[in-house]
Amino acid sequence: MTMNSVGRPTAPETAAAAPIGTFTGNRGLAVEEPLLFEIGRHDVTGVDLDEPGRFAPRLGAHMRRAPIDLPGLSEPEAVRHYVRLSQKNYAIDSGLYPLGSCTMKHNPRLNEKMARLPGIADIHPLQPLSTVSGAVELMAELGRWLLEMTGMRAVALSPKAGAHGELCGMMAIKAAVEARGEARPIVLVPESAHGTNPATAALLGFRVVPVPARADGTVDPEAVRKLLSPQVAAIMLTNPNTCGLFERDVVEIARAVHEAGAYFYCDGANFNAIVGKAKVGELGVDAMHINLHKTFSTPHGGGGPGAGPVVLSHRLAAFAPLPFVRMEAEGPRLVESEAELAEGETPFGRMVAFHGQMGMYVRALAYMLSHGADGLKQASEDAVLNANYVRAGLRDLFSQPFGDRPCMHEVLFDDSFLDGTGVTTLDFAKAMIDEGYHPMTMYFPLVVHGAMLIEPTESESKASLDLFVATLRDLAMRARAGETDRFKAAPRYAPRRRLDETRAARTPKLKWEPPAPFEQAAE
C-alpha cells in the first residue's frame, strides 16, 4: 500500500465493494431530503423584518383568527433544502432530453439576464403607459418577428401557454363563426393530435369528431372532405404532426376546409422543424399558437411558465383579444380596452389579466435576435438533421411504424421491435434512466402501439448523438437477448425506483399531514 508520511493511504484499496445500507439512507452525494413540514418551525424565519410599531388597524372584523400553519426555515436551511431537492432532477443542462413534442433545447443564460433587467422585471402592467414605452416596443418587435416567420396577419401575444393559445385561437374561430350568424358545433381533430386539442374544443362546447390517420401517418384530404359540412367550424391539425411527419397535403386540406366555410387551426407545438423553411400563412392556416417555451427556448421550469402567442390570418385578425399592440404613425400602441378600438377591430374578449408573459417575450426575443434569420433556419435544419441521424442510427434495430422515410424534428418508433422480449416501452424507457438519459415521450401519439417519440433538438452535438444511439442500440440488443430483468427492475440508479402510481391515485395524499399520535398509530 502507498502511504504518505503521516500514514494516510494515497491509493485505493482493491477490496470488492458490495452494496451496503447506510444509517442516513443517503448514498454519498445522493442525499435524502425530508419535507419542509418535517424540518421547518413556526418561529423560524429566513427574512429579517422589523416588527411594526403600534398603529390602529383598519381591517374591520376581518383579522385572521387561527394560525396559518406555515413552517419556516432560516436562509442556510432553505438553501440546502432546495439545492438538495434540485439534485434529484434531470435537466437539459445536465443531459440530452429527447422528449418528443416538447422541444427540450438549450436555454441560453443571456435570455435569463435580459429578463432580469430592472426595465423588464420591475415594471408594473398598470403603471402609466408613458412610463413603459420600451415594453410596448418590445412586444411590437416580438410580434414583427413572429409574423415574418409565419407569414400571418396579426398576433395575439397574451396567451400563457400552448393550450391557452389553442383556446385563444378557437375562441377567435368561434367568434368569427358567430359573427357570420352561423352555428357550427363540430371541430375535426386527427387521432394523432395532442390531448389539449380535443380538450380545448370541448371547453368551448364543440363536439369533437376524430379524423383517422392514413397508413403513412398523415391526414388524408379525402377523409377530411368527407367529414366537412356546414356543421364544421374548424379543423385542428398539428403540422409537422405528432408522428414527426410534415402533412404534405396541408394545402389541399386547407382549401377543402375553407371551401366548406370552416377555419384551419394549426397546433404549432412542432414549429421548431420549419422556422425559416415554410410559412404557415402560405399553407392556408388561419390560427396557430407558438410555444415560446419550445421553439424559442424559454426554460420549461419543471412545468412552466410557458407562453403561447397566436398568429392569425386575415380571416381572423379582427377577432384578436385585448390587449393588443397596434402599429400607429407615432409608434406601437397598447390597446387595452374596447373604448380604444378602431374601425374593424372586434376582439372576442380577454384571455388574461394584464398583457401576457413579458418575462417570456423578452427571453424569446433575445433568442431570435441571437439567431437571426440565418441562425433560425440553421437551427431548424440541425433539429431535423439530428432527428434523422438518430433514425438512421436505429433503423435496423428499431421499428418505424410508417416505413423508413425522412422525418422532421422528431422520429417515431413503435414497440414491435420488442415483440416477444417481454420488455415494454415503459420498461425500455426506465432502462434509459439507468444509462443516464431522460426517456423519450412514451405511448404518444396514440395512433401507434407503444410509441417512442424521440426529439433530440438542434442542441445536441454529433458526439452526444453517437453515444445516445449506441446506448439505445445496446439496450435493444439486450432486450432481444432476453435480459428482461435489466428492464423490469429499472431504474436502479435513480433517486427513486419505479413509483406506485396506482396507489397514489387510489388513496390520494395531496398534501402533508402530521403523523398520527402514537396511540392512534398503534391501533
Binding site: 431530503e33 427574512v47 383568527r65 394560525p67 434531470y90 412610463t131 412545468g303 374578449g349 404518444f444 395531496l510
Partner: protein
C-alpha cells in the same frame, strides 16, 4: 452560431450517414413552392449586440424600484430575498420539463407537494393544485369547475371582482354559452350580492380584498350560496393579505383562487405569474390542473408522482376537466421558496408591515383638501377619491416621478361615476420618504 454545436464537417458526415446528399432532401414533404427563400429579418447577433438592443428598450421604461411606487390592482411589488432567484435558477429546476418521469424528477415533485400544502394552509382549504397560469385564468377555471359540480351554468360575479378577471370569465362563458350575471362596479363594498343568488346560480364569485381594497365578509355569502345549492368561489389578488386576514376557507368558501405573484415573483409587466387554486377534498376529481401526490417506490421509499391524471387532457382528451398542460411550475417554486423563508412568523409580520404602511399612507393622503379614502376596511390597498380626473392626476404624478396608483377608469373605461377614483397600494417597499413624496406631489397636482 454559438448555440449550435455542429461544424460543417459534422453536418456533412451526418447527411452521409442518413443517406441523403443535402439538407433539403429531408424537407421534401414541404411542397416546393411553399419553401421559404429568406426571412426579412436581421442576421445573427452576438451577446453584446443583443444586450444593447434589449437594454435600449428596457431603459425606456421606468422601473418600479427607481421611484416612489404605489401601483397594485392585481400585481404587487414586494421585496424578494436574493436566495429565491438564485435557487430558481438552479439548472435542475430551471431547465427540467414537467415531471413525467418521477424517478428522475423528485425535486420538482417534492416542491409541488410542499407548494400544494402551503397553498392549502394559506387559503384554509383541504387541497390545492400544482398551479394555474395566473389569478384571472384560475378564476375562469373555478367557474367552469363550479358548473361541473353543480350541473348549472350561471355564475354571479361581485362588483368587487377585478374587471380584468371579470372580462376573462365573461369572454370564455359567452363563447361556451354559459351565463354570467356581473354586478356593477362596487367601490364602496355595499352591493347586495345575496339578492343576486338564485336557484339557477352555479357559483358566486367574490374577491376579498376587493379590487377596490375592501375586505368582504364571505360567511353570509357562503351561507346563502349553499342554501340554494351553489358554490362560493373566493378570489384574492394579493396573497400577502392571507398573512393577516381571515382566510376564505374559514368563511365557507368552496373554491379559493388567486394570484400568487406577490410572493417570490417579479412584476414583469404582468407575467409570468402563478395562479393558486384550492378547494374541498370532495371536489378534487373535478379540479383542473396538475396534482402531485405521495406514494412509495419499488423499495418502499416515499416518493411523489403526478396523480389523478384521469382528469387531464392527455388522458381524457375532450372529457378532461380542463385543457391546461404547462402551468407555472417555476413561479410556483419561487412562491414556495419565499413562503418557506418567511414562515408563519415572517409572513404575518410582512402582512402587518404592509397594512401599517397602507394605513399611514391613507391617513396622510386623506388630509389633503378634497381627497378622501372610500374604504371602511382594507389591507394594503385602498380607493382614493380625488377632485377631478383621476387618470390626469396619475399622469401628472408620474411626471413628478411618483407612480401613484391605477386610475379606476383604466380598468373600467366609460364610467364617469368612477373617473375620480385611484387604486393606491403600499407594501413593505415604501418608506416614510416615499409617502411624503406622494403627499407632496399630490398636493402639487391638485
Amino acid at each position: 452560431m454559438r448555440y449550435l454545436p455542429h461544424s460543417e464537417a459534422d453536418r456533412q458526415a451526418m447527411l452521409r450517414a442518413i443517406g441523403v446528399g443535402a439538407i433539403d432532401d429531408l424537407f421534401l414533404d414541404i411542397p416546393e413552392p411553399l419553401r421559404v427563400g429568406a426571412l426579412d429579418l436581421p442576421r445573427r447577433a452576438g451577446e453584446l449586440s443583443v444586450e444593447r438592443t434589449i437594454g435600449r428598450m428596457a431603459a425606456k421604461n421606468v422601473a418600479a424600484g427607481s421611484v416612489p411606487f404605489f401601483v397594485g390592482a392585481g400585481a404587487y411589488r414586494h421585496h424578494v430575498p436574493a436566495s429565491v432567484d438564485h435557487l430558481i435558477q438552479r439548472s435542475e429546476f430551471l431547465t427540467s420539463y414537467t415531471p413525467y418521469q418521477p424517478e428522475i424528477t423528485q425535486g420538482t415533485l417534492q416542491v409541488l407537494f410542499e407548494f400544494q400544502t402551503q397553498v392549502a394552509h394559506l387559503t384554509g382549504m383541504e387541497v390545492a393544485n400544482a398551479s394555474m397560469y395566473d389569478g384571472s385564468t384560475a378564476t375562469a377555471e373555478a367557474v367552469l369547475m363550479a358548473h361541473r359540480v353543480t350541473r348549472r351554468k350561471k355564475a354571479v360575479l361581485s362588483g368587487g371582482l377585478h374587471p380584468h378577471y371579470r372580462a376573462v370569465v365573461e369572454g370564455l362563458s359567452k363563447l361556451a354559452s354559459d351565463t354570467v350575471a356581473a354586478l356593477p362596479p362596487d367601490p364602496a363594498g355595499t352591493e347586495d350580492i345575496l339578492a343576486a343568488i338564485d336557484a339557477e346560480t352555479s357559483c358566486v364569485v367574490v374577491q376579498s380584498p376587493s379590487v377596490y381594497g375592501q375586505l368582504i365578509d364571505l360567511a353570509p355569502i357562503a351561507q346563502k350560496a349553499h342554501a340554494v345549492g351553489a358554490l362560493l368561489v373566493a378570489v384574492f389578488t394579493e396573497v400577502v393579505s392571507l398573512g393577516l386576514v381571515e382566510p376564505p376557507g374559514a368563511q365557507g368558501a368552496d373554491i379559493v383562487v388567486g394570484e400568487g405573484q406577490g410572493l417570490g415573483n417579479a412584476l414583469s409587466f404582468g407575467g409570468p405569474y402563478v395562479g393558486l387554486f384550492a378547494t374541498r377534498a370532495k371536489y378534487v376529481r373535478q379540479m383542473p390542473g396538475r396534482l402531485c401526490g405521495e406514494t412509495v417506490d419499488a423499495d418502499g421509499r416515499r416518493g411523489f408522482v403526478l396523480t389523478l391524471s384521469t382528469r387531464e387532457q392527455h388522458i381524457r382528451r375532450d372529457k378532461a376537466t380542463s385543457n391546461i398542460c404547462t402551468n407555472s411550475g417555476l413561479c410556483a417554486l419561487a412562491f414556495s421558496i419565499h413562503t418557506t423563508l418567511l414562515g408563519e412568523t415572517g409572513l404575518a409580520r410582512l402582512a402587518r408591515i404592509n397594512h401599517m404602511n397602507a394605513v399611514a399612507l391613507a391617513e396622510s393622503l386623506s388630509e389633503l383638501a378634497g381627497v378622501s379614502v372610500l374604504n371602511d376596511s382594507f389591507f394594503n390597498e385602498f380607493t382614493l377619491r380625488v377632485p377631478g380626473d383621476a387618470a390626469s392626476v396619475v399622469e401628472a404624478l408620474a411626471e413628478r416621478g411618483v407612480l401613484g396608483g391605477v386610475p379606476v377608469s383604466r380598468l373600467e373605461p366609460g364610467r364617469p361615476e368612477l373617473a375620480d377614483l385611484i387604486l393606491v397600494a403600499s407594501t413593505e417597499i415604501n418608506t416614510d420618504e416615499d409617502r411624503a413624496a406622494y403627499a407632496a406631489a399630490l398636493a402639487e397636482v391638485l
